[in-house]
């Protein structure tokens, strides 16, 4: 069945189109996701490599729920 569908697709151009559509979807979703992230969260994440040891932290820092 799968073979039949593929063969009947002729030049298989649909693969290139579906690839492009999938990529645009992945790109848009990741871009929307990145731009909707709150600043506090982004700051906290980008500072993670700089802290090897955390002596004090608050519940809010851990959960990142507050905007």
């Amino acid at each position: 069945m799968y073979k039949y569908i593929l063969e009947s697709a002729g030049s298989i151009n649909w693969m290139a189109i579906s690839a492009l559509i999938t990529f645009v979807t992945v790109f848009l979703v990741s871009a929307i996701m990145a731009f909707r992230s709150p600043l506090g969260y982004l700051n906290k994440m980008s500072n993670l490599p700089l802290e090897d040891s955390i002596l004090q932290t608050s519940e809010i820092d851990i959960r990142h729920e507050e905007k």
Partner: protein, 710 residues
């Protein structure tokens, strides 16, 4: 408020991998240097089979990729993972099994490749028992990494860890997919895919070995160690999110750009080109994110050798990822492919990106592990400049050589004949570039030795901190997404979901590209006159594989007039259906051999193997005296025929029992022709050379049967 816990980071495993990457850097580069000098002085292998170019070239590439860079990855991952997750590694035992297992694999590779035990698939040359060992050790690494993630104190996973997860799952898929093979013996196997299908699967693997072993883990290291060394956060965390998803999704599709103008169907070539060109966007996004992290800190780059190495590394990443998409455009690829341009391109990546980032990390890390200062900043600066000059002296001559040779291959006289009809003219022309390349390699190697000395002196003056104390609050377990929380941040707290997401992203490309090739027969039109190899030719083919001939000779005549004039009819996909593995090659240090059959008499090949320069003055091919000396080992021949029959090669029923007799019959015919031309050897029909000649004389003759009667 969560309770603050005290724990210890495991630095011992980081130190082990750091020592290993330093050791294998020296070994891998030394082998590469020997190979570079052999291209100037072919006799430098000293007449020993184990040191011949064809065998040590894969040793160099494997050592550089899996030993030097591989250990560099683990060093960085084991250091950063613990600190980003605020926990010790999951298991000391697994860490040590991983370390010693990986070093054992490297040693096995270092023994088997010079012995000629190879599956002939670039960057996947190791035979099946070692492939299984790699898979087991990789799983151990995976369990240890995911175990550490699960016992973390930090809820969210920093972007570096996403890159590590994507690396792990993709390498798993690639390694298994490209190594599905049926064993003949402990040292020989045949791949289940043949010809064009094998080529597509191999370059899906080969390209993504570059992508997911040399790039994504190193991007993870960049996102951790660059902010660390600069003591400032990454420029844009938003950009890193887009960088990650776009990069891993696109990368997986780009493999067919290694096969442009070959017998691969056009639709697959086009997909490879389109996605390769698109790759420039996420790649440069990542590069800019790295460089802009240093915004406002460029004064420190002038002083700090660590940052200097990192800046050049990231710049080299940008150069290589600009050049890669350009080389994937068909009209550019028509010039670059099979030339030294490719070699220059990959060395910008390995010497610049992987090498310099590893050196930067080592200079930053070793003093911290040993609680001391770097022994000599001056020596580190000297290393930086020697290394940078080394890269320039390595790559620029090869770009020059690539252009020069390609243009010479393609040049016609006004009368319509090839201006440089003798391939050797195009080799001797670029020899000065090979000299300068060897100088560049020597400089880079010398710089590495300076670094090793500097780091050993640093280690000797310091005191190792095996268990580094740290404190962090206990993790507050969270079930499900919180109210008002963005869904992606929920994924970031769920390593398994991240694993599945990354796996889906990379599988889409692989499945869409590869499955039609495997499932639709019309993609590879059959040619009635193409027959399976005879047992003698098969044995000769396996010798061709053993000697690594494909390191210098392609078997793919592209549909250009300059190639059909030089070599003959362009190659058809149907001609390769019995080729396990495919041997198209990716570099023409010597001429293409796909239409070699019937071009010269048997005795020409015999004498050429005795002394290539006597038949082709100026040739840089080494002599192969052992092929004239060694007798054929036919112990596994019946099993080979049996395995190939099982895989679909249409040998007659029960042919495995007649294979040896068939081989001897054909060998005596070849020997008779050789004797008629004056070759003297009582045991000629038993020598390996006879099988190799039979294979070379068969090449490309199936579609011109009359020419085969040499």
């Amino acid at each position: 408020m969560a309770q603050v816990e005290t724990f210890y980071y495991d630095n011992a495993i980081v130190r082990k991998f750091a020592y290993a990457t330093m050791l294998w850097a020296v070994v891998g580069m030394l082998v590469g240097l020997i190979a570079a000098f052999q291209l100037i002085w072919p006799e430098l292998n000293l007449g020993i089979p184990y040191t011949s170019f064809g065998r040590i070239r894969p040793l160099h590439t494997n050592a550089a990729i899996f030993a030097f860079v591989g250990n560099g990855i683990y060093m960085g991952v084991y250091y950063s993972l613990q600190r980003l997750l605020k926990t010790r590694m999951f298991s000391n035992a697994l860490s040590n099994i991983h370390f010693w297992g990986w070093q054992s694999i490297i040693v096995m590779a270092a023994v088997t490749l010079p012995l000629g035990i190879t599956s002939a698939k670039e960057y996947a040359e190791l035979e099946w028992p070692i492939d299984i060992a790699i898979a087991l050790v990789w799983v151990v690494f995976g369990i240890n990494m995911f175990g550490t993630i699960l016992k973390r104190r930090e809820n969210h996973m920093y972007v570096a860890i996403w890159f590590y997860i994507a690396t792990w799952i993709t390498v798993t898929v690639l390694h298994i997919g490209n190594n599905i093979e049926i064993p003949v013996s402990a040292t020989k196997s045949y791949n289940i895919f043949a010809g064009v299908q094998d080529a597509l699967v191999q370059w899906w693997y080969g390209h993504n070995a570059v992508a997911f072993f040399l790039t994504t883990p190193y991007l993870g290291l960049m996102y951790y160690f660059l902010p660390k060394a600069a003591n400032r956060p990454v420029y844009s965390y938003r950009l890193s999110i887009i960088h990650f998803w776009a990069l891993i999704f696109i990368y997986i599709w780009a493999g067919p750009h290694h096969l442009l103008y070959t017998s691969l169907p056009d639709w697959a070539q086009s997909l490879g080109t389109v996605f390769s060109v698109m790759l420039i966007a996420p790649s440069w996004g990542g590069m800019l994110n790295g460089l802009l992290t240093l915004r406002g800190a460029w004064d420190r780059v002038r002083q700090d050798p660590v940052l200097k190495f990192m800046v050049v590394a990231i710049t080299a990443y940008g150069m290589a990822t600009f050049e890669g998409p350009m080389l994937s455009i068909k009209s550019v690829n028509a010039i670059s492919h099979f030339t030294d341009w490719t070699i220059g391109h990959v060395h910008i990546g390995t010497l610049g990106w992987n090498g310099f980032l590893t050196f930067g990390i080592l200079y930053w890390l070793i003093p911290r592990l040993f609680n001391t200062q770097l022994y000599s900043g001056k020596l580190a600066n000297a290393h930086f400049w020697i290394g940078t000059l080394g890269i320039a002296f390595y790559a620029i001559p090869l770009y020059w050589a690539g252009w020069a040779q390609s243009l010479m291959w393609k040049e016609f006289t006004p009368d319509g004949f090839l201006k440089y009809g003798n391939f050797l003219e195009t080799v001797t022309q670029i020899m000065p570039m090979y000299y300068i390349r060897a100088l560049g390699g020597t400089l880079y190697f010398a710089g590495t030795l300076v670094m090793v000395y500097n780091l050993i002196a640093t280690i000797r003056q310091g005191s190792f901190i095996g268990d580094e104390v740290a404190e962090a609050p206990a993790r507050v377990a969270t079930d499900g997404a919180h109210k008002g929380e963005h869904w992606h941040r929920w994924i970031e707290r769920r390593p398994m979901q991240m694993l599945v997401g990354a796996a889906i992203a990379i599988l889409i490309g692989g499945i869409i590209e590869i499955s039609p090739m495997v499932m639709i027969e019309s993609n590879i039109p059959k040619i009635a006159s193409v027959k399976p190899y005879t047992p003698l030719e098969l044995h000769g083919r396996d010798l061709y594989i053993r000697e690594g001939c494909l390191g210098c000779h392609s078997q793919m005549v592209r549909p250009f007039r300059s190639e059909t004039e030089r070599y003959g009819e362009y190659s058809k996909s149907g001609e390769y259906i019995y080729d396990r593995p495919f041997l198209w090659g990716s570099k023409r240090t010597g001429p293409d051999l796909h239409r070699e059959g019937g071009k010269y008499p048997d005795s020409w090949h015999y004498n050429h193997m005795v002394d290539p320069q006597s038949m082709s003055p100026g040739s840089i091919m080494p002599a192969y005296p052992w092929l004239l000396r060694d007798e054929m080992d036919l112990g596994t021949l019946p099993k080979k025929i049996k395995v190939l029959t099982m895989l679909g090669t249409p040998y007659p029923e029960g042919f495995e029992d007649q294979a040896v007799a068939d081989l001897k019959k054909q060998a005596s015919e070849v020997a008779k022709r050789l004797r008629a031309d004056g070759v003297e050897d009582d045991k000629l029909e038993k020598r390996d050379i006879v099988a190799l000649i039979a294979y070379l004389q068969r090449l490309g003759t199936d579609i011109k049967p009359k020419a085969a009667t040499n």
